[in-house]
C-alpha cells in the first residue's frame, strides 16, 4: 500500500463518514526522536503492522508487534513506545469515533447496517477486551485496504461500501475476540466472566443473543450449555442474579423500591414485585418490612 493519510475535517473524502476520524498508511524509514511518546488514545484505534518489528507499550504492558499483527486501542488507553520512538517499518491505521451512548457503535451521523442490539453487543465485547494485540488476523489488512481503495477512487456505491466495510471491521474484531475465549473448552471460566459482566450492568435488558455473543457462542448452543451447567435457562439464571441483588438493596432502607426494580433490570416495579413474590413468597415491600422489624435487640 502507498503512503497516505485522510483526516476528518481536512480530507473531503471522509466528510460522509463522521465516524472515521483518520485512516492512513505510513512507512517509517528512519527513527525520529519523540515520534511516539506514551499518551492516552483520544478515540478507538485499529493498527495493522505491514512491515518491521515494533515494541509498543499498551496500558503499561510491553507487546512486540510483527507483520500481520493487529493492535486494538480503546479510547483512553495509554499507549506508545517506552523510548518515545516509532521504529522502522510500515503500518496502517484506522481511527474511529465511537457513539456516545451504549446503543450506538459509531458517532452520530454515520450509517451502519448493524441493528441496535448488535451495536450494543459489539461495544460490550470491545470494552471488555483485555487483549489489545491479535496476531495474524489477515482480515484487518484486507478491510483496511478495501476502505482506502474506496475512499481514494470513490466509484459508484462507495458511500455504502465504506459504511459496510467499517461494520465488517467491527464484526470481524468482535467475533475474533469472543472466539478467543474458547468457550467450549473453558466454559466454567467463560461463564464466570459473563456473570461478572451481567452483574456490572444489571439494569440492562440482556437478551440471550447478547449473552451468547459475549462468550462467543451461537445462541442455541449457549442455551443448552447454560442449562446443563447451571440447571437454569440463561434468562432464569439472570433472574437469580437480579433477585439476589435486589434482596441486598432492599435490606438497605435508603433506596426506593422502583429504583431497585430498575437498577436490577426489571422493566417496572410491577414486574419486579410479581417475580420477587413468585420466587421468595414476599413482595419486595413485605420483605423489606420483615428485615427492618427483625432482630431489633
Amino acid at each position: 500500500m502507498h503512503q497516505f493519510v485522510f483526516q476528518q475535517g481536512l480530507s473531503g473524502a471522509l466528510r460522509p463518514f463522521p465516524h472515521i476520524l483518520e485512516i492512513g498508511v505510513k512507512k517509517i524509514q528512519s527513527i525520529q526522536l519523540n515520534s511516539f511518546p506514551e499518551s492516552r488514545a483520544d478515540c478507538f484505534r485499529i493498527f495493522h503492522i505491514i512491515e518491521g518489528k515494533f515494541e509498543w507499550c499498551i496500558n503499561g504492558k510491553i507487546y512486540m508487534l510483527f507483520p500481520g499483527d493487529t493492535a486494538i486501542i480503546s479510547t483512553g488507553t495509554l499507549f506508545g513506545n517506552s523510548k518515545n520512538i516509532l521504529e522502522i517499518g510500515s503500518i496502517a491505521w484506522l481511527n474511529i469515533k465511537l457513539g456516545d451512548s451504549r446503543d450506538r457503535l459509531f458517532a452520530a451521523g454515520s450509517n451502519s447496517g448493524l441493528n441496535t442490539g448488535e451495536q450494543q453487543t459489539i461495544l460490550k465485547v470491545l470494552l471488555m477486551n483485555s487483549m489489545p494485540v491479535i496476531s495474524k488476523l489477515t482480515e484487518t489488512a484486507r478491510i483496511l485496504h478495501a476502505i482506502s481503495y474506496e475512499l481514494q477512487h470513490q466509484e459508484i456505491g462507495y458511500l455504502t461500501r465504506v459504511s459496510q466495510l467499517t461494520d465488517e471491521m467491527f464484526i470481524t474484531l468482535t467475533r475474533y475476540l469472543s472466539h478467543q475465549k474458547d468457550p467450549v473448552r473453558n466454559f466454567p471460566q467463560v461463564f464466570m466472566q459473563l456473570e461478572q459482566e451481567l452483574r456490572k450492568d444489571l439494569s440492562h435488558q440482556w437478551t440471550v443473543e447478547e449473552m451468547a455473543a459475549i462468550v462467543g457462542m451461537g445462541s442455541t448452543m449457549f442455551n443448552e450449555r447454560v442449562k446443563t451447567f447451571t440447571g437454569f435457562t440463561p434468562l432464569n439464571y439472570l433472574i437469580n442474579i437480579r433477585i439476589s441483588e435486589a434482596m441486598k438493596l432492599l435490606k438497605k432502607n435508603n433506596i426506593n423500591i422502583t429504583d431497585i426494580a430498575l437498577d436490577t433490570g426489571f422493566y417496572s416495579s410491577q414486574h419486579f414485585s410479581t417475580t420477587f413474590k413468585k420466587l421468595t413468597g414476599y413482595t419486595p415491600r413485605e420483605f423489606r418490612t420483615n428485615y427492618l422489624t427483625a432482630d431489633k435487640d
Binding site: F229, N240, I241, S244, E245, K251, L279, T280, G281, Y291
Partner: protein
C-alpha cells in the same frame, strides 16, 4: 404419599433431591451458584445468590416431581460444605460474602497458630487441623485485617445457618458444621473459650449449637405459600457434606473407610473414637455426640484430572469435561499398572493430608525415552491416587481398614475405582445410582422421622456391593512405585520451598 427432600449447599452448586420414605429417589435438581475469586487467595460465595438458587431449584423440584406425583413433603433436611464464615449485622444482613473453605487469606495466621503451643492444644480439643480453611483462622483474620466488618458483626454464621435463618428466623449451627470451625471442643461439645479468645469473639456471636437431628423451627408462611408446602413440614438442620457422604455409604464401625473424589478429595472413617495424631494430620468432625467422622483431605483430585484433560486432551470433539475425562481414562487403560516407571507428584494445588505442605508442587519423575503421552495420562491418575493412598496408609496407623467405598464424580469412574482397589489391596464398593451426600441426608431425615431407630441402624441398612476386587500383581507393582512417591513427597520439601519463594 410422604417424601423427604434433601438440600445440599455446595461451593459450586445447590443440589436438591426428593426421596420416598424407603430411600428411592423421586427426582433431583441442581442449581449452579459459583465460588467467586474476588482477589488472590479469596474464595467467596454470595449468600443471597445461594439462597435464591436454593429456592428456585427447590421450587423446580417440587413442581416437576413432587406435586405432580401427589407426594406430601414431610421433611426437608440440609447438608452443606464445611468451614464457611458469613458475618451478619444485628438485622441479619450479610456484611459481604460468605468466605468458603478454599479461601486462603488466613494462611499466615493459621501457620503461626499451628506452630504455637496454643495451636497444638486447640487441635487436640477441636479436632480441626489449623489451616486457613478453618473459621477460627478466618475470623481471626477479620479481626486483624477487616476491622470495620469485624466491629459491625453481630453474628458469625455458616452458610447453612444463614439459609436456615432465612427460612425459619432461627440462628442455629449443627454439631458437624460447628466441629469443623476450629472453635468447638469436640470432647464436651461446648465452644472452646481459648479458641473464642483467640478469634476475639463471644459465644453470643455464634449461632445456637444443636444436634444434627434438630428441627430448625417452622417454615415461614410466605415460603409455605410460594413453595406449596404445608405448615407441618419439618425443617431438619442436618450435617456437613463430608459426614453425610460417609453416613450415606454406610461407613459405620470398624474396618471400613470411604474415599470421596470430587475436585478435591478425602479419605474418611467413622466411629466412636476420635483419631489422635501428634502430627496434626487428621480432622475429627462430629456426626453425633458419640460418633466421629475422621480422616484426611487432599487438594489434588478431580482438579488435577481436569487440568490434564484441558492442557493435553484431544481437541477432536467439542470439549466437554465429561467426555474428555472419559477419553483420558480410556487412554490410561492402554498402559499397564505403574505407567512403565513414570511417576507423578500431584501437588498442583499444594497439599493438605498427609504432608500438609502448601508449597508442594507437581512433578513427573522417572521419565525415559520410551514414554509416550499415554504414559503421562496414566501416571497422572496414578499420582493422584497415590496421594489418596498416602492418606489411607496414615489412617491405617490408627484404624484397621478392610474394605473401602468410593463416591464423588471422579472416585466412581470405573478405572479410578479399580485402581483404588489395586493400590489399597482392598475390595471397593460404590453406590451406583445415587449421590452419597444426599443419601446420607435422607438417612438423617428418615431417622428423625422414626423410619430408623437411630443412625447406627440407618447406616447398617446401606448395603453396597463390592464392585471391584484387588489384583495382587498390580498391587505389588504399585507398592514399588508408591515407595518412591512417598520418599519424593518428603525429600523434595526443601526444593518446594525454594521454588515457592521464586514464583
Amino acid at each position: 404419599m410422604n417424601c423427604i427432600i434433601t438440600i445440599e449447599l455446595g461451593t459450586n452448586a445447590v443440589r436438591v433431591f426428593a426421596f420416598d420414605l424407603d430411600g428411592n429417589e423421586i427426582g433431583s435438581q441442581r442449581g449452579y451458584c459459583p465460588t467467586l475469586h474476588t482477589g488472590p487467595d479469596y474464595s467467596e460465595q454470595d449468600p443471597d445468590h445461594m439462597f435464591i438458587t436454593m429456592l428456585y431449584s427447590l421450587k423446580n423440584l417440587l413442581t416437576e416431581y413432587v406435586h405432580p406425583g401427589k407426594y406430601k413433603v414431610s421433611t426437608i433436611c440440609f447438608s452443606s460444605s464445611m468451614h464457611s464464615v458469613l458475618a451478619v449485622d444485628k438485622t441479619g444482613t450479610p456484611l459481604g460474602n460468605a468466605i468458603t473453605w478454599s479461601d486462603n487469606r488466613a494462611k499466615k495466621i493459621a501457620q503461626e497458630l499451628k506452630d504455637s503451643e496454643l495451636g497444638k492444644a486447640l487441635y487436640t480439643r477441636t479436632g480441626t487441623p489449623l489451616h486457613p480453611m478453618s473459621p477460627l483462622a478466618k475470623i481471626s483474620w477479620m479481626k486483624e485485617f477487616d476491622k470495620e466488618r469485624f466491629k459491625q458483626t453481630s453474628k458469625f454464621l455458616s452458610i447453612k445457618s444463614y439459609i436456615i435463618h432465612q427460612l425459619t428466623d432461627k440462628y442455629l449451627i449443627d454439631y458437624s458444621i460447628a466441629s469443623a470451625t476450629g472453635l468447638l471442643n469436640i470432647h464436651d461439645i461446648k465452644w472452646d473459650q481459648d479458641a473464642l479468645n483467640f478469634a476475639g469473639i463471644k459465644k453470643s456471636s455464634l449461632p445456637e449449637l444443636v444436634p444434627i437431628l434438630t428441627e430448625a423451627g417452622k417454615l415461614k408462611k410466605a415460603y409455605q405459600n410460594s413453595l406449596g408446602l404445608t405448615a407441618d413440614t419439618r425443617i431438619i438442620i442436618g450435617s456437613s457434606d463430608g459426614c453425610m457422604a460417609t453416613l450415606g455409604d454406610g461407613v459405620m464401625g470398624e474396618g471400613r473407610a470411604t474415599i470421596t473424589l470430587e475436585d478435591s478429595g478425602a479419605v474418611r472413617v467413622m466411629g466412636a473414637r476420635m483419631l489422635e495424631d501428634d502430627k496434626q494430620r487428621f480432622f475429627n468432625y462430629l456426626l453425633t455426640e458419640d460418633c466421629y467422622v475422621s480422616g484426611g483431605p487432599t487438594n489434588n483430585a478431580g482438579s488435577v484430572f481436569e487440568w490434564f484433560a484441558r492442557q493435553f486432551g484431544d481437541c477432536k470433539n467439542a470439549f466437554e469435561i465429561d467426555y474428555s475425562i472419559h477419553d483420558l481414562m480410556e487412554e490410561a487403560s492402554k498402559v499397564s499398572a505403574g505407567s512403565e516407571g513414570l511417576l507423578f507428584l500431584p501437588y498442583l494445588l499444594g497439599e493438605r493430608a498427609p504432608i500438609w505442605n502448601a508449597n508442594a508442587r507437581g512433578s513427573y519423575f522417572g521419565l525415559n525415552i520410551k514414554h509416550e503421552k499415554k504414559h503421562f495420562t496414566r501416571a497422572t491418575i496414578e499420582g493422584v491416587l497415590y496421594g489418596v493412598y498416602n492418606i489411607g496408609k496414615t489412617l491405617e496407623e490408627h484404624r484397621n481398614i478392610t474394605s473401602l467405598s468410593v463416591n464423588g464424580s471422579y472416585g466412581t469412574l470405573s478405572l479410578c475405582s479399580k485402581m483404588i482397589a489395586d493400590i489399597f489391596n482392598k475390595p471397593v464398593a460404590l453406590r451406583s445410582n445415587s449421590h452419597s451426600v444426599s443419601y446420607g441426608t435422607y438417612l438423617v431425615a428418615a431417622t428423625e422421622m422414626g423410619v430408623y431407630k437411630n443412625l447406627d441402624e440407618a447406616a447398617k441398612t446401606v448395603k453396597l456391593p463390592d464392585e471391584y476386587l484387588p489384583d495382587k500383581t498390580n498391587h505389588e507393582t504399585y507398592m514399588q512405585y508408591f515407595k518412591i512417591f512417598e520418599q519424593l513427597s518428603t525429600k523434595l520439601a526443601p526444593e518446594f520451598e525454594i521454588i515457592a519463594n521464586i514464583s
